[in-house]
């Protein structure tokens, strides 16, 4: 099939799956997940074909695959939409397709496909488990013994429909050749994240988290939209090719802070990235997004949302770095990116130290790693950022799916023992190494990749290249802070692994945890392969001993996206030694501190530094600060100012005043004119007529002789009058 047509089809498959599920197959769990898996599988197949073809193509960055159609006529020109496959799209499609497919497969098991319906399960709440009579008639179990087993998710089909839409949005965003469809995919993804974080919408915490995620990312999107509009007004197009074809238009000064127009637009787009990729200060939504089901967390953290933000930042690196030469001073936009990225990296890594929820630790590690990527872009390490993006997607998807597997296994134990424990609290776990060996080994690989375990893991190579680029570009502050963040990363990762898998089980549930089905473990194994193997395609040529054994394929492939080509690689030993020390040191200290935590014991870190631990535990009180700074004033404005004062006071007051005034005028008219004059006249007329009738009716006696007397008297009187006054004498 023609590769251009194929590229159009990549997002189409999940979209078709979405509509098929919501319109037709939603009654059947089996058909629904089959449709979703076929959709994701076909997209995956298309991506792999594109990937292979893109590898074979010559000079893909200069002559990308793609086709476009006119979509929306606007006066003389038309907004064009189309698809494009260049090296950046290729690698992004590669990891998105793999992670999406793995997450889809994993979801089948995670939502307990094939399990009985729950006893008290409601749509909008996580399944609580079902009672089942034991089938065995053995002596020990005893026929008819009742025990609890996991139950199937009540809204199974809905989940697959929504997650298909999520995948559709991400694929649309990646393959599009213009900012318009990218933005469409970006916003659909925002919607999907909202509805999937709030998938268990009957839980108030999930609802709040969904609203928080939606509003927070929307804040960045407003600026991004401003950037798009500015870009369109400067260049007259939203297609990448047209935008980047003429840098002189963008070089012109914007008149704001001495930045170029391109730099300013890059900054606005970067604000969208801050929201989407959860950078400081809009990082607050990502940890709360853990309220969603674990596959959704994996989608958000690896395959879609946050990766989309970094993808956009990569895509618009030429704008941000406009006028920058390798090794020269950073542009204003790049400086902002470097500062925010670096700060986020260390800030989120430190928060992760104080979290006990297995998924929250991972969430903060995601924020921290995204900070690494943004910081890498800020110091000009384009290839390193892309490399870390892909590597991170693989090992973070692996870690999330692994943590989901842990939770699932321990929930099974909790149902079995009837114990009520939070399976996500790491202090309730421990000793899962023997119970869940596959999960343990894959999680270990993912964790080591996250902490940058030397040589074998992908995380080492990508993180090392970021540190090396920061060092070689002379950004020693960035380098130093990132190295410290990497040390913390290794530390909290080992803390997590030690608390979860090593040592002794701290609760009965953890003791009775059970390894999950192969459907759940297969994605872990596949992703673990990538978490290790992916690093080998990007080994710098100048690396001691290993460098040059394999070509630095990733560096040259993605580096060709830059007009100047991949920057020269430095060959300093300092960053290499630093990465070795921080990753191994962090891992070792983490193991040392947490290897022997007993049931009910507090965190050793808490014992050592109670004050600092409390701050970290409460995430530097950012939620509280935002609640105080923004939410409460917003509430106050809406409730007190807008509602009480403006609406009820002023607007209602004016209306009430008018009503009262009209009422008073009406009363005056009523008591002054209507009642006495008009009513009175009417009443007087009627009562006068009545009274007159009463008087006159006395004359109507009905006696003919009285009438005659009157008649005679009248004749006499009138005759007398005529006779005497008018002198009508004959």
């Amino acid at each position: 099939m023609d590769i251009n047509v194929l590229t159009w089809l990549v997002p189409a498959f999940p979209l078709v799956a979405f509509f098929l599920i919501i319109l037709f197959t939603n009654r059947s769990n089996r058909v629904s997940h089959t449709v979703a898996l076929i959709g994701a599988g076909l997209s995956w197949l298309a991506c792999m074909v594109i990937f292979v073809q893109a590898l074979a193509a010559k000079d893909l960055a200069k002559t990308p695959f793609g086709s476009a159609i006119s979509w929306l006529p606007t006066g003389d020109t038309a907004l064009k939409i189309g698809v494009q496959v260049d090296p950046l799209t290729t690698v992004t499609l590669f990891f998105v397709a793999w992670t999406v497919l793995m997450i889809f497969i994993y979801s089948v098991a995670y939502h307990n496909y094939g399990a009985p319906k729950g006893d008290n399960d409601h749509p909008g709440l996580p399944p609580h488990g079902a009672t089942e009579k034991a089938k065995g008639s053995g002596k020990k179990s005893g026929g008819g013994k009742v025990h609890m087993v996991p139950s199937v998710e009540p809204m199974y089909s809905r989940f697959f429909a929504l997650i298909s839409l999520f995948a559709f949005a991400m694929f649309t965003l990646v393959v599009s050749d213009n900012l318009l469809t990218l933005y469409v995919g970006w916003e659909i993804m925002g919607f999907c994240s909202y509805i999937l974080i709030g998938f268990w919408y009957a839980k108030p915490s999930a609802r709040d988290a969904a609203v928080k995620a939606f509003l927070t990312t929307r804040l960045g999107d407003v600026f991004m939209l401003l950037g798009l509009v500015a870009l369109y007004s400067v260049t007259g197009s939203l297609s990448y090719n047209v935008i980047f074809a003429n840098p002189n238009l963008l070089m012109a000064s914007s008149g704001i802070l001495g930045m170029s127009k391109g730099g300013l637009i890059g900054l606005l787009l970067f604000m969208g990235v801050i929201g989407k990729s959860a950078q400081f200060p809009l990082h607050v939504w990502l940890p709360d997004a853990m309220e969603g089901p674990t596959p959704v967390s994996a989608m958000i953290h690896a395959a879609t949302m946050v990766s989309a933000g970094i993808y956009l930042a990569l895509r618009f690196f030429p704008l941000a770095s406009l006028g920058w030469v390798s090794g020269g001073p950073l542009t204003a936009t790049m400086t902002v990116m470097a500062v925010i990225g670096t700060f986020t990296a260390i800030f989120a890594a430190s928060i992760a130290l104080g979290q006990n929820d297995i998924k929250r630790v991972l969430a903060y590690s995601t924020i921290s790693q995204l900070g690494f990527m943004i910081a890498a872009l800020g110091v000009g390490a384009y290839v390193a950022a892309a490399f870390h993006l892909v590597a991170h997607a693989f090992f973070k998807a692996l870690l999330f799916l692994g943590s989901g597997s842990v939770i699932h296994g321990v929930e099974h134990g909790a149902l079995h023992t009837g114990e009520h424990v939070d399976p996500q609290d790491m202090f309730n776990l421990g000793g899962l190494r023997e119970k869940m060996p596959v999960t343990f080994w894959t999680f270990l690989i993912g964790g080591f990749a996250l902490s940058g375990f030397p040589i074998i893991t992908a995380g080492f190579w990508s993180k090392d290249s970021i540190l090396a680029d920061a060092f070689n570009n002379g950004q020693y502050v960035v380098f130093g802070v990132l190295a410290l963040a990497a040390l913390l990363t290794a530390f909290y990762t080992m803390r997590q692994i030690t608390l979860t898998f090593l040592g002794q089980a701290r609760t009965k549930s953890a003791e009775h945890a059970r390894e999950n089905r192969w459907v759940m473990l297969l994605p872990l194994v596949v992703l673990a392969v990538f978490a290790v193997g992916f690093g080998w395609v990007g080994i710098p040529a100048t690396f001691p001993l290993l460098g040059g054994l394999a070509p630095n394929w990733f560096g040259s492939f993605v580096g060709s996206m830059l007009s100047a080509g991949a920057p020269a690689e430095g060959n300093s030993l300092v960053p290499l030694l630093t990465s070795l020390v921080v990753s191994l040191g962090g891992l070792y200290i983490g193991w040392l501190v947490y290897r022997d935590v007993k049931t009910g014991e507090p965190d050793p870190f808490q014992k050592a530094m109670p004050g600092f631990y409390k701050i970290l535990k409460n995430k530097y009180y950012f939620d509280e600060a935002y609640a105080f700074l923004f939410i409460r004033p917003a509430r106050w404005i809406s409730e007190t100012f807008s509602y009480q004062w403006i609406d009820k006071g002023v607007i209602d007051g004016i209306l009430h005043f008018f009503a009262r005034a009209v009422w008073v005028i009406g009363s005056v008219f009523r008591s002054g004119i209507d009642t006495p004059v008009i009513n009175g006249a009417g009443d007087a007329l009627s009562s006068g007529t009545r009274g007159l009738g009463g008087v006159l009716r006395r004359a109507q006696t009905g006696r003919i002789q009285q009438y005659m007397i009157i008649a005679v008297l009248l004749v006499v009187v009138v005759g007398a009058i005529f006779y005497s006054f008018l002198a009508l004498v004959p």
Binding site: R703, Q705, M708, I709, V712
Partner: protein
């Protein structure tokens, strides 16, 4: 010749007797008789004035004013016929000829 005033006085007396009969009697038949008297008093007046002023007048046909007298007679006869018929009809229904008792239309 008897002077005109005597005729007029007689006519007035007759008229007053008739008027009194109409106004004072309860019996409807008597009231009808009173009316006849009043009408005849008028006729006497008419005849008297004719005899004294118009009978020998050369200017006009002397019989012409007598047409009034004839009309009064006709009206009196018709009135007596209709009135007596009504009274008989009332008497048949209500067994009375008293005018005050004929009060079916009174509210």
């Amino acid at each position: 010749m008897i002077p005109l005033y005597w005729f007029l006085a007689f006519s007035i007396a007759l008229f007053c007797i008739g008027l009194f009969g109409v106004l004072a009697r309860k019996n409807a038949v008597a009231m009808l008789m009173g009316i006849e008297l009043m009408l005849n008093a008028v006729n006497i007046n008419l005849i008297a004035f004719w005899r004294y002023f118009f009978a020998s007048s050369p200017q006009m046909d002397p019989t012409r004013p007598l047409a009034f007298v004839a009309i009064v007679f006709v009206a009196a006869a018709a009135e007596a016929a209709v009135g007596l018929a009504l009274i008989i009809s009332v008497y048949r229904r209500r067994q009375t000829v008293v005018a005050e008792d004929m009060n079916l239309l009174k509210g």
